[in-house]
């Protein structure tokens, strides 16, 4: 384990092969609702990248030093059998909600321009499944800290790419003749299916 190539491989896997939207169906609610407009898609895509890159490592620390089986052993050797992993869900979601709030306040204070473009999307993504999903996958795959950071950033970037692609396709579709009752979500689903098929072409790649 180790080396630049190993991290590059995790990154490409997270972006293309196991894209969090197109292969794992996470974050679809905001994916479908917001991809009607390109500007908004770029906004939420960037917000997801920022929040995933921040929350995944924080949840990694909490999981490794507090929640995992035997994680509290640094406090006292008696705690070797303590296993708090049933608290994982509630702690992760609280950390995510708190971090989103914090990022929002930080942005408002230090960068008005960034706040006005990303601000309205931040509360939305607190309940976006891709953020919690990223943290849960990180636990399930037993990543170390660097891998977690790379994975968090990669998944966020994958979401960004996917929503930008869908928004662009939907923009072009505006002038096409779709059966009226297929318009909207139905068509977006079929298009996502096609995008997902396109991304499957990457599945053989192994760095």
């Amino acid at each position: 384990m180790g080396g630049f190539e190993h991290y590059l491989s995790i990154f490409t896997k997270a972006v293309f092969i196991e894209n969090i939207v197109l292969a794992y169906f996470l974050g679809l609610c905001s994916f479908l609702a917001i991809s009607k407009k390109i500007d908004a898609s770029v906004g939420i895509g960037m917000a997801v990248v920022v929040v995933l890159t921040i929350t995944a490592p924080i949840n990694w620390f909490i999981n490794t030093y507090f929640l995992d089986k035997g994680a509290l052993v640094w406090l006292s050797p008696d705690f070797i059998d303590v296993n708090l992993d049933f608290l994982r869900l509630i702690v992760f979601i609280s950390v995510i909600a708190a971090m989103v709030q914090l990022v929002e306040m930080f942005m408002e204070r230090f960068s008005q321009a960034l706040y006005s473009s990303l601000g309205i999307f931040l509360p939305l993504i607190a309940v976006n499944c891709s953020i919690l999903g990223g943290s849960l996958f990180m636990v399930e795959r037993e990543y170390n800290l660097t891998e977690t950071i790379v994975y968090g950033f990669g998944s966020g970037f994958g979401f960004f790419l996917a929503i930008l692609a869908l928004a662009s396709v939907r923009y072009r579709l505006r002038y096409s003749n779709i059966p009226p009752r297929l318009r909207g979500v139905g068509m977006a689903m079929l298009l996502t299916g096609l995008l997902s098929m396109a991304f499957m072409a990457f599945s053989g790649i192994d760095l």
């Binding site: 999903g133 009752r181 689903m189």
Partner: protein, 217 residues
């Protein structure tokens, strides 16, 4: 109070038809697709979602006058997260194989938009008994769609129909060998993720044709 009057019936039946949470309100699609590879996974997931949705609706509706408006999201999230933890622990205790197969998607019921959406739109404005019916109706509406999707994905993708039975599942039906010998083939694409998007897209289209609903874009 009459529990089966026409208003209560409407609360239950609307989510099954003209106000379906997945196909018309577009909530909770995230988990809907991931667990539809096999029918038994979809059925267990439906039961879990109905349990969480009904309980969270009742609890939040009973507490609705005590929750300050500014912190309601955090309160909602913590109540929902506790309920989901209960479901997760029960699954790990009694259906361990199933909980391994559903992996992170049980935990992701927390961020399933149906639960937050119904709490926000209904439970915080109505009494507990109505909120319970609303939870039941929306849970059933969610279950209906994912059961339809998983039925087609499993039947045409893997050639079987599996009902829940412990962890491994009970195979109710599988396409006979003679068919394969005669040249029938499973559609491998349906088992992969694009298949889920296509089937759900077609289900949404069919449902909108049936109820005559159009979406302005």
């Amino acid at each position: 109070m009459e529990i089966f009057n026409s208003e209560s019936k409407k609360i239950i039946s609307d989510p099954l038809s003209i106000n379906n949470p997945i196909s018309l309100q577009v909530l909770g699609i995230c988990s809907a697709l991931a667990v539809t590879i096999r029918l038994d996974q979809a059925i267990i997931m439906t039961i879990a979602v109905i349990f969480v949705l009904c309980s969270s609706n009742v609890i939040l509706s009973a507490l609705r006058n005590f929750i300050p408006n500014r912190v309601r999201i955090v309160v909602m999230l913590s109540i929902i997260a506790s309920l989901v933890t209960v479901v997760d622990q029960v699954l790990q205790a009694y259906l361990y194989d199933m909980s391994k197969q559903l992996s992170v998607f049980v935990g992701l019921i927390i961020t399933n938009c149906i639960i937050m959406g119904r709490a926000e739109a209904f439970a915080l404005k109505h009494g507990p008994s109505k909120a319970f019916l609303d939870g039941l109706g929306n849970g059933l509406g969610y279950g209906m769609i994912i059961i339809i999707v998983s039925f087609f994905r499993e039947l045409f993708g893997a050639g079987t129909i599996t009902l829940p039975n412990g962890g491994a599942g009970y195979e109710l039906f599988s396409i006979p060998e003679a068919w394969y010998a005669a040249g029938y083939e499973n559609i491998g694409l349906l088992v992969l993720s694009p298949g889920a998007f296509f089937i759900l897209g077609l289900v949404i289209w069919t449902q909108r044709e049936l109820f005559g609903i159009e979406e302005g874009e």
